[in-house]
Symmetry: C2
């Protein structure tokens, strides 16, 4: 362990917000206040963008009541950014840090943010500037490597499970085919969590599709027809990023007009296109397979509510997100030069985690797909073994009652 | 008051479910168990459809634990129906009632269900069959006449407020134009509740559109451009049934392909079409008004989650829904021949209701639009006076924190 240096600290938030990203921020603020080595804690407005623009909010001495309210507020309280800095951008970051005597950089985000942290660290090292860089994980996609799971995931999953649980009862009341599109361009962790809504035989979701397993839309039609033929209804949970066997996303394949975001990616969230296309497919092809039966078909795209719904965070997720922020500061105070805060699940029956330091290079860039062991052979469902993984992160949910 | 007759009772659920419709069912079950006059309580499967099909579930003697679970379960536990019975249909209902010695009919639903209750009552009266018919109000649209508000509304509004509250923080993190489409074909009560998410200056929703006030899509474009010009972002809450000045729904006007439901109505829910069309409008016309600025535009359609989300019901709504079910049985036991259970708000600072009996004919068929006094002059916002009406129904919500 290296010695602790005195200086200023910067904390920033990046990428898509979560329901608990401010818990991590408050964790950093609270813990930093305990250490004299941190002379001033500055919040960067809109992540790296605020750093190079020299836009900071002083975060020491904030009222405890405000911190409590902040912690339960969805969204990134400091503002966020989609910028993915290259070396030149990071050089500007380092210039600002040097000018302001910033010796600690806490960056809350996903794998891109870990990569930004890595570049900044490499540049600091190359120029012999003493800077401690700690990445704090955050993503509803749950796709960061090394860590058992990511802050933000449990709350998003809790929203999904509760939505599917209720929607399944709604669909049982007025039977039909219901398609629920869930966030996850490349990672199916969130969509897989919908499994937790299934308690008894006949409960939905009856079909679950994730981006890690390619499935043809023809199989989708067969699957829906088979479930409907059996049960007289069908509830489907599908990842927005689901791909056909040729690797082309269903959304792109079925959509008439395709939207692209600022990175040139097809826009999946904030649009009902995939759900509506699948509903159309069911109305025509599934109906035909069932002898021309008129089907009640509806589609909902859960959209931004999954990551921002207020007042419904998973208690475990909230606590762990706070702890990730606290641990980031502690690691730095114990002399760590760089790392990403990671969780290890304790062995034994009772759920618990210990924190440890992951290497930035192991977390940056690459992502962790949903493990193949959880995906059923046919690619249209999730194995029950996934419950043990996800249930503690989601927390207790209402127990549904049914008439005999 | 007429004398109490001994006989069997039937309870049914109709129309779109809510998060608390089973509270009313459990209220009927619990209260009926206390009265010897009710020999057997039968649950009609899928509303009137189960009556004419003679499909009933015995509901006396159910385990108390099951009733507790049932009460917090969204969806209609007995199943629902979209059937709107005419006189001939109702004659079949009466035939089944006579054959099974049914003397009490409790029907949980909206204005169509009140109308069904009215027809059945008239037929019974005409044939001198002693039948007590009590309608129990239910609708997330909150559009029943006479009553101060409807069971189901508070919980749906709670979902909407929490969603908008979080979404506004999300939109503040990554600024852009966000369109949230809220249920309500003709009634704006639910969309108006989004106002409760607004606490401080600059908070969303910045624009609120309801079906009771016609607004041109040109004005919509102007409104969004103005808000965006001021704030650099804009969060919009819009009812799915919003109409242009010529009375044509925006959804129909903007959509390329239009879906119709089994009643021939344009399908509004379970489709992202309106949101996607409005997003397109913003990307082209609002962007042009702002000098060709590229805007981050997203749309979410809250869909079925508004009425079915599990574990997030408004406590007041849940309690009142249960009470409506109990009161229905009590009114019948006190000798009422027919009525719809209604709520009157007590005067004074502390919120509370008293129940009273509304005439079926006053509740059937016609609906109650959002009062004009709540809608702002320009038709793009709701007056603050609406808070006093809606806040007690929604219940306490997380208090959002912001950095200085």
């Amino acid at each position: 362990m290296a010695e602790v240096v005195r200086g200023n600290a910067v904390v920033g938030q990046s990428g898509g917000p979560t329901a608990v990203i401010n818990q991590s921020l408050v964790g950093v603020i609270e813990e930093a206040a305990k250490h004299e080595a941190v002379e001033t804690l500055l919040g960067a407005r809109n992540g790296v963008r605020g750093i190079i623009g020299d836009e900071f909010v002083p975060l020491k001495g904030l009222d405890a009541g405000l911190l409590d309210r902040l912690a339960v507020t969805p969204g990134s309280a400091l503002g966020s950014t989609r910028d993915k800095p290259d070396e030149e951008y990071c050089r500007k970051i380092l210039d600002v840090f040097a000018r302001r005597n910033v010796r600690y950089f806490f960056y809350i985000g996903g794998n891109d943010s870990a990569d930004t942290a890595r570049i900044v660290r490499d540049l600091a090292r190359a120029s012999d500037y003493d800077l401690r860089v700690i990445h704090i994980p955050k993503t509803i996609d749950n796709d960061l490597r090394v860590t058992d799971h990511c802050p933000g995931y449990g709350s998003a999953a809790r929203f999904v499970v509760s939505a599917i649980l209720g929607d399944d009862r709604d669909n049982a009341s007025l039977p039909g085919v219901k398609i629920d599109v869930i966030m996850g361009r490349h990672a199916g962790w969130l969509t897989a969590s919908s499994l937790l809504a299934r308690h008894d035989a006949g409960d939905g979701p009856h079909l679950i599709y994730v981006p890690e397993r390619r499935v043809s839309t023809d199989q989708f039609v067969d699957d829906v027809a088979e479930v409907y033929g059996h049960l007289g209804r069908c509830l489907i949970a599908v990842s927005e990023g689901i791909e056909d066997v040729d690797g082309k996303p269903w959304g792109e394949k079925l959509a008439t007009a395709v939207e692209r975001d600022s990175h040139g990616n097809v826009q999946l969230s904030g649009s009902g296109a995939l759900g509506d296309s699948l509903a159309e497919l069911v109305k025509t092809k599934v109906s035909a397979k069932l002898g021309g039966k008129t089907l009640r078909v509806r589609a909902d795209t859960f959209g931004y509510l999954q990551r921002s719904f207020a007042g419904f965070a998973s208690p475990v997720d909230a606590k762990e997100a706070r702890r990730a922020g606290q641990m980031a500061v502690r690691y730095a105070m114990r002399g760590a030069r760089d790392c990403s805060v990671a969780f290890r699940r304790r062995s034994g029956d009772k759920y618990g985690i210990t924190c440890f330091r992951a290497k930035l290079t192991d977390v940056a860039r690459e992502t962790k797909p949903l493990s193949a062991e959880y995906i059923r052979e046919r690619g249209n469902d999730i194995h029950d073994s996934f419950r043990a993984y996800a249930a503690p992160l989601v927390g207790a949910l209402p127990i549904v009652g049914r008439l005999p």
